[in-house]
Subunit: 143 residues, 4 copies
Amino acid sequence: MMSKLTIDAARTIIRETLAKAHDMGLKPMSVIVLDAGGHPLAFEREDGAAPGRYAIAEGKAYGAVMLGMPGSAQMARAEAQHYFMTAANGAFGGKVVPVPGGVILRGDDGEILGGVGVTGDTSDNDAEAALAGIAAAGLKGDA
Amino acid sequence: MMSKLTIDAARTIIRETLAKAHDMGLKPMSVIVLDAGGHPLAFEREDGAAPGRYAIAEGKAYGAVMLGMPGSAQMARAEAQHYFMTAANGAFGGKVVPVPGGVILRGDDGEILGGVGVTGDTSDNDAEAALAGIAAAGLKGDA
Amino acid sequence: MMSKLTIDAARTIIRETLAKAHDMGLKPMSVIVLDAGGHPLAFEREDGAAPGRYAIAEGKAYGAVMLGMPGSAQMARAEAQHYFMTAANGAFGGKVVPVPGGVILRGDDGEILGGVGVTGDTSDNDAEAALAGIAAAGLKGDA
Amino acid sequence: MMSKLTIDAARTIIRETLAKAHDMGLKPMSVIVLDAGGHPLAFEREDGAAPGRYAIAEGKAYGAVMLGMPGSAQMARAEAQHYFMTAANGAFGGKVVPVPGGVILRGDDGEILGGVGVTGDTSDNDAEAALAGIAAAGLKGDA
């Protein structure tokens, strides 16, 4: 059992997420890996990605970790009850971006090890690349 | 007559809210008790609850105390007039989460003694657990 | 080995820190326990403590966890190089209070499990009570 | 002539800065590379580094890029005129950490390509490791 996310795992997730994005022919991507407390372990932004992509990647991953809800569930909640996600975002200093591409990282027992945030293409493509990267690192992703 | 909330009452509210949540089979819960000024008296987050649950619990209780409106009334207002709750939230630094689970604590004469915020399961289940905890402390809850 | 701080350990730390403070005849106290990500697990503020004590307790514990430096080391750095601690505080949203009473919680292997923040009396008395509470929970404190 | 920092160069800087830190026997390190607009290109935090090290690393690099002053010059200014650096920091949202370890990245003609922020050991050791990583990437560092 892996009880704490390591920098080696984070590097693998980023490398393999980008490799998958290249295979899929996606636009330039940005990928962040946060620990179980929502704090950055590793980040990369590819050449050609817009300068603000750090904040979007972080916001996707941060919401997933802090709320314990993946991006798809946050988006569903935002569509059903937008004022709740707006308010939750205020409570987190505006750092939550509630769309797919924010993925919860889980260990063997389902415990939350951290989160991954991917941005650059459509939200669904972002999430697909993230899940491939997470699987390549031997972890479970909840997108 | 009880004119001011005590730490002993706050402890009872938290313990009994969690006991009720366990009886109901709810997810891991977080419970906060605020005083009449909206300031924290006591808080607990159960094992397995997401790390951001403090801010959600506080936001539910804070809105109840500061606006003098329980979570259900805040939600009704948000649904009828979302820009009002968004604006009110701006005025309160983004700390208000306008959904059930934010409960006003009242004394014998109806005076506001503080607020309770509960989060972890559905908003309605959160509120039901809070009311049980408040009743067990001999106080009145306005959910 | 305890790899993650539990709510039961947090409750013990708070109860025993307050018991020690009572034995020492200290003023009304506030105690917070944060997890390894700097997020609140449990908090209590005793009757008679000022309403702003949550933020002071959190600020002491938050700096300890986020910087990996106990309150005494933060204070020494602030006295030697005040602009560094001012800047670090800006980087953490103003949430760091760099004085004794902010204690790092460590496990058997020295890993950081979280932090404790105590406020109410002199900073040195705050730290002494915290260390007693931490020891009673079978953990190591770095004050 | 290299007119824009690439993600490949950023990866090399991080890898070689960490290699140098290992050679020097430093504590667990965190390294960020910002582009010429002060926006993150890549970041890594080693196992054992405190969770708040992202903000410190970013603050060192951000000040270097945004002010066009390396960390050592910022520290000298802070010691001579602390209110200036405090005010500058206010203007930059509190994101500047004015100590060594914040290094300006320059191209062949002296143009600013970005910045590197390193934190984990003493500020001087942080800067030494950064300069080695930058040199390994074939760039010039102004520490």
